[in-house]
């Protein structure tokens, strides 16, 4: 595989006995098709597809977890994209990716090109915001909802910044 | 005076008794259903109202009567009210021709243990039970809503299809007994010494299966099953009107069981009706034992109804219709032809 996609290849490493391959995002669809069809490790099953948000680099890391029935092995493919970029959909390679990518879109806002039906799946259609991003403030969401629908001040303390409860920078809500 | 007593008072008393007993049995069936279901399902069923839940039907009746009477806004009020009544009444008036026993003497008068004896009794029963289907269609239509109407049409289609097979299945009995009168049919069974079920086993099975489909009971109860998309014709009904449909279903069940007993199992005859019984067992031959035998046999059939409902899954609608038209109807016709052949060749020689 290295030979074919050497320009896209970034690194391959093994951590705790699990194999990871990281590639660049440009030819991701062809790479995935190659992973599915090659004879050395035919990955005919996409176990999972998800994303991790790295706000410091303003990047998303899209992770594909592949499995090969015949060789009984798991492989992880990773690729990084900037927050505003689109990435090719894997739904053409494995139909499993359909809903998995919809969920990534729903939770992170990653846009997939050539996806058959890119709509929100878990949240209501008219939801604003992408919850699993690191800069999504759940407490702020709650305070705003209470203010909008109940017209009162919820009194919940929220803070701006990373959603970690250890952060001592509390800011009380103002009108 | 005699005329008045014979033709007005006695029939009125008989009607009163039959109606009263029938209503009681219908009420009891609601309890029996829950108790039998419970015992099959390893639990106890209603236990609180009265000893072992005996007064439960009373509680249910009171509850249904006191419920709020909801009338859908766009529904046609008169037909909405009339439909359950149209479903219920035929189920009850079928019992006008069913014989519960032979005759006995009271104060010098010969009283026959039946309300009346129509010489076209069988035809009467078949036609009256068809009217009940109208009650269902009207109920679905009057609700003025898409889904009850679809459910009602499905129910009606199912009932009509199985009516055809039902009619054919009892023709064998008709041929053997040579008469449409139900009293004659029972008397013929006494004459032959054999219940007709032994002469017409296939006819009986077909009749009972069609009967279950007629009354929309499991395994043919898809039109009224809760897990179906279309909730059935009685969606919009609540309270007392709903209870009327409910009672109509049970009354129909009892009617089908009573017909099965009359046509195939000897009506009010005891087992081995022509074998003389020694000594005190001769009591079992008394005319008033007739209704008792009848009741026992009907009870067994009703239990079978309940047993089937709680044991088997239900058929899908298209499979149901397929069975009715592709299996039961040809079998019924085959039964008819075979019976005709045997009757011609062996019984009516020449």
């Amino acid at each position: 595989m290295k030979e074919k996609f050497s320009t896209q290849f970034v690194k391959a490493y093994s951590f705790l006995g699990q194999n990871n391959i990281e590639v660049k995002k440009a030819l991701i669809a062809e790479i995935l098709t190659f992973m599915r069809d090659n004879t050395i490790l035919p990955c005919n099953y996409l176990a999972d597809e998800t994303a991790v948000h790295w706000p410091k680099d303003e990047e998303f890391e899209i992770v594909y977890i592949l499995y090969s029935f015949s060789k009984n092995e798991y492989v992880r493919m990773k690729t990084r994209i900037k927050e505003w970029e689109t990435i090719e959909s894997a739904a053409g390679v494995w139909t499993t990716a359909d809903w998995l990518e919809r969920e990534v879109y729903d939770m992170f806002g990653v846009r997939y090109a050539n996806h058959p039906n890119l709509k929100r799946i878990l949240l209501p259609e008219d939801w604003v915001g992408f919850p699993l991003r690191k800069d999504y403030n759940v407490r702020l969401q709650d305070v705003e909802w209470v203010r909008k629908h109940l017209g009162i001040d919820s009194g919940q303390k929220y803070y701006v910044g990373e959603a970690r409860h250890e952060d001592p920078n509390y800011i009380t809500p103002t009108d | 005076m005699d005329f008045v007593i014979d033709n007005i008072i006695i029939p009125l008393i008989k009607i009163g008794i039959v109606f009263g007993v029938l209503s009681g049995v219908v009420a009891l069936m609601t309890l029996a259903e829950r108790k039998v279901a419970a015992f099959i399902q390893v639990r106890l069923g209603p236990m609180r109202v009265g000893p072992h839940g005996i007064l439960q039907p009373l509680a249910d009746g009171v509850k249904l009567m006191l419920k709020e009477d909801i009338l859908p806004a766009k529904a046609d009020r008169w037909i909405f009210t009339l439909a359950p009544i149209i479903a219920l009444v035929p189920a009850f008036i079928v019992f006008a021709v069913i014989p519960f026993g032979s005759t006995f003497n009271l104060f010098g008068k010969t009283i026959a243990l039946r309300i009346t004896d129509l010489n076209i009794g069988l035809l009467y029963v078949l036609s009256i039970s068809s009217i009940g289907i109208l009650g269902i269609i009207l109920g679905g239509w009057a609700s003025n809503s898409k889904y009850p109407l679809m459910g009602a049409l499905r129910s009606a289609a199912q009932m009509v299809s199985y009516e055809v097979a039902l009619g054919f299945s009892i023709m064998g009995v008709l041929m053997i007994s040579g008469s449409l009168s139900l009293v004659e049919i029972v008397n013929k069974q006494k004459e032959f010494g054999w219940w007709f079920v032994f002469l017409q086993p296939l006819g009986f099975i077909l009749f009972f299966v069609c009967g279950i489909a007629e009354t929309n009971r499991a395994p043919f109860d898809l039109p009224e099953a809760e897990s179906e998309l279309v909730a059935g014709f009685h969606t919009e009904y609540s309270g007392f009107r709903f209870s009327l449909y409910f009672l109509a279903e049970y009354a129909n069940m009892i009617a089908v069981s009573a017909m099965a007993v009359t046509l195939f199992f000897g009506g009010w005859l005891r087992p081995f009706p022509n074998v003389a019984l020694p000594g005190f067992l001769g009591l079992l031959d008394a005319p008033l034992m007739g209704p008792v035998w009848f009741a026992i046999k009907v009870a067994i059939f009703l239990y079978c109804y309940l047993w089937f409902r709680w044991t088997w899954p239900r058929y899908r609608y298209d499979q149901l219709m397929k069975i009715g038209w592709q299996w039961l109807l040809p079998l019924a016709i085959a039964n008819l032809v075979a019976t005709a052949a045997i009757v011609l060749l062996f019984v009516r020689k020449g």
Partner: protein, 371 residues
Amino acid sequence: MAQAETLFDASELTVSMGPQHPSTHGVLQVKLKLDGERVLDAECVIGYLHRGVEKLGEVQTYGQFVPTLDRMDYIAAVSNCLGYCETIEKLLGVTAPPRAQYIRLIMTELNRITSHLLWLGTHAIDLGAITTFLYCFREREEILKIFENYCGARLTTHMFRIGGTQYELYEGFQDQVRTFIQDFPKKVDEYETLLTENRIWLDRTKNVGIISAKDAIDLGLTGPSLRGSGVQWDLRKAKPYCVYSEFDFDIPVGEVGDTYDRYLVRMEEMRQSARIVSQAIDKIPDGPLMAKMSKIIKPPVGDIYHSIESPKGELGYYIVSDGSTMAYRARVRPPSFVNLQSLKKMVAGHMVADVVAVIGTLDIVLGEIDR
């Protein structure tokens, strides 16, 4: 029925089996496009039970996150627990002591039986066989009593801890489990007499919801649904975790991939689970219950993926750790979520009444799908 169609003059009707429905297991909405009685297309609308479990994984410590996971697949809560604990243990590089692993195995297999019993009860009741539901719950009651005696909870048990188990086995545990396991195969036979050869059951489930092996793998179907299509793949044998490699059991496989095959596969799985438990219950070794590790769990930086065979399919956990006490990304790969995608393919061309059967046979739990 033809009359009804002309009455409404609709060649295509869109009907929604709404979120509140007696036979969708949980809050699931299925939008069906119908042509008369035939289903042309089915679209699932999910998310009614979304609770943000993955976001919670980022604000709770690893130990705190375990009970949250119970609430995902609330029917097979023990499997959720097992998967997560094993994942974190792998990340930390510790192994639970043998006694803990045996206890984990027994509880997980009992939970598999529980989950399949519930599946059977609800599937049967959807198709009209009401009594089976009550028989299944009678057996399930016995197992839930065992769970309650062990950890105090029946449904959302928080049985295992990262590094082992916390609770010691109670007195009488082995006898109680043994009595149950001895009776259980007879009970499964009872269910089989009610349903397996029943003409009506066969008519309702044969050739309904067929999916080929190739389609199944492409759609990501796992668990008994995949095995019903003929693919012999079970994570307990393919990638043994816990102490499964020490036990002797078979993987039942179907042929055609229809509802009836999946039914047979799950019935047989119940028997095999009973077999595993009966082998394990006699061999529980003595020893400590928790591995030696620090109280505060701070895994090294990195990521890991580990999956187990839950009763519904492949339940996977992908944890990204940044070295602190809370996960950076806690991703759960829910089997029911991916299984539900295949509803569209299975249901096309069938009748409306079959949709209910297919939803039942996929064995979905909305808690898992929506998280």
